[in-house]
Symmetry: C2
Subunit: 225 residues, 2 copies
C-alpha cells in the first residue's frame, strides 16, 4: 500500500521505517524537502537529521506534505501536535476519503516541564483534525507510547500491554487495527468515536510524569480486566 507519513521527526522515522519493512511504499511528507535534507543537527527531541535515515532506508521517499499525500492511500500524522493542522492544510487537496492515523499529541512545552496540553477535557486534537477535514477518516492511536514501542510493542514485556484506537469510521478503525497487529500489538482496545481522543490525549499528563519518574520512555500501560 502507498503510505504518506507526515512528519520527519522521531515518530515519523519510526513509522516510515516499520511500514517500509512491512513492504509498504512509503513517502515521508515535510514542509520543505530541501530544507529538511539540509539539516545537519539533531531536532528538538534529539532525533538525528533525516538525511541519515533516508540513506539507511533508500526505499523511503521524501516529498512535500501535498505531494506525499497526493500519491498515498493511507496517511499517518506524525507531526508535532503544534504542526498537525497546518501540515494537513498544506495537503488539503489530497485528503478526501482517506484514512489518517493520527499519532500527534497537543503538547505545550511553552509553560515549562512537564508540558501541558493546548486542548483537552471538552475537545481534543483528534477531534479538531476531524472537524477541520471532514472528508478524512481520522483514527487516533499510538499516541500513548514512545516512538520505538509504537512499532515494536513486543520489545516491552513481550507485548503484554494495551493500545487504544478511536475514530468515527468503523472500517477505518478495522484497517488500522490490522496494521497495529502487524506491528505486534495484541491488545487493541476500541474506545469508540473520535471524541474519545480526549481520553488518550489527556493520558499524556500521566505519560510525561511516568517518564520523569521511571527515567525511561520504555513503558506502557496494560488495561487489566
Amino acid at each position: 500500500m502507498k503510505v504518506a507519513v507526515l512528519g520527519t521527526g522521531m515518530v515519523g522515522q519510526a513509522l516510515a521505517g516499520k511500514l517500509a519493512e512491512l513492504g509498504h511504499a512509503v513517502t515521508m511528507g515535510t514542509r520543505d524537502p530541501k530544507a529538511t535534507l539540509a539539516r545537519t543537527a539533531p531536532d528538538g527531541m534529539g532525533t538525528a537529521p533525516l538525511k541519515g535515515f533516508l540513506d539507511a532506508h533508500p526505499q523511503v521517499k521524501l516529498a512535500t506534505f501535498a505531494d506525499a499525500a497526493a500519491g498515498a492511500e493511507l496517511l499517518v500524522n506524525a507531526t508535532s501536535g503544534r504542526g498537525a493542522l497546518e501540515a494537513l492544510q498544506l495537503a488539503k487537496e489530497h485528503l478526501a476519503g482517506k484514512v489518517l492515523i493520527d499519532i500527534s499529541n497537543p503538547l505545550d512545552f511553552s509553560k515549562g516541564m512537564p508540558p501541558t496540553l493546548t486542548v483537552c477535557n471538552t475537545d481534543s486534537l483528534g477531534e479538531q483534525l476531524q472537524r477541520a477535514f471532514p472528508a478524512l477518516k481520522v483514527v487516533k492511536t499510538l499516541n500513548t507510547v514512545n516512538a520505538h514501542l509504537m512499532v515494536n510493542p513486543t520489545a516491552l514485556a513481550g507485548g503484554a500491554h494495551t493500545m487504544f484506537v478511536c475514530g468515527d469510521d468503523a472500517a477505518a478503525k478495522q484497517q488500522v487495527t490490522g496494521l497495529l497487529q502487524r506491528f505486534g500489538w495484541t491488545d487493541v482496545l476500541d474506545l469508540g468515536g473520535i471524541a474519545n481522543a480526549r481520553a488518550t490525549e489527556m493520558y499524556l499528563a500521566t505519560w510525561v510524569r511516568l517518564y520523569g519518574t521511571l527515567k525511561t520512555p520504555m513503558f506502557s500501560i496494560k488495561v487489566v480486566r
Copy 2:
C-alpha cells in the same frame, strides 16, 4: 489509629469498612448525621443508604465533618469532587498537621456523559485542597479505581496492577503507602509532589470511557516497565 472518613457514599463505605476491618477506629463524617441516617433511598451512584452499612458495621461511628476530623489522626476525603472543599471547610479547625488521603475526582456530570473535569491540565483538585488548607498533608491516591478495588486490589488479576501516590510530604506518602500495602497493593508508584494529581485526575477521562467500553468498573491499569 483514629481515622475520619469524610463522605458516606460508595467510596466512603468501602474505605470505612476496610479500615475498621484492619482494626482502626473509624468515624465517618457527613454534613448532617441525622439527615444522612434518615435517608432510605440509594444515592445518585446507586449506593444503599448509610443506615444499613452502619448496622452491619457497629464499630463504625457517624459524626459531623468537624467532629469526625476533630477526633482523628488520619483523614480520608471520600466526598464527591464537588463537595470536597466544602467538607474540609466545615472541619477546618481540626486539620492542622494531619495527613489527608484524597480520593476525590473533580468530575462534572452537568454536561452529560461521559463526565468532564471541573479542573485539569494546569491545576487539579488535589492542589486546590492543598492550597486551601496548607497545614494539611494531602496525599492523592486511590482515585483511579472503583471503590471495591481500592480496598480489594487482589480481587483483580491477583493485584497485578498499579496504584499511584503523590503529595508534597514524603513522610505522609510513606504512611499512606504502608496503608495501601495493607489493603493489598503491591505496585505503588510515587509520582512526586501534589501537582502530579493533575495526571491521575486527568486519567479519569480514560477511566470513564473504559467503563463504558468494558461494561464493568472492575478494571485497572498496570504500568508495564
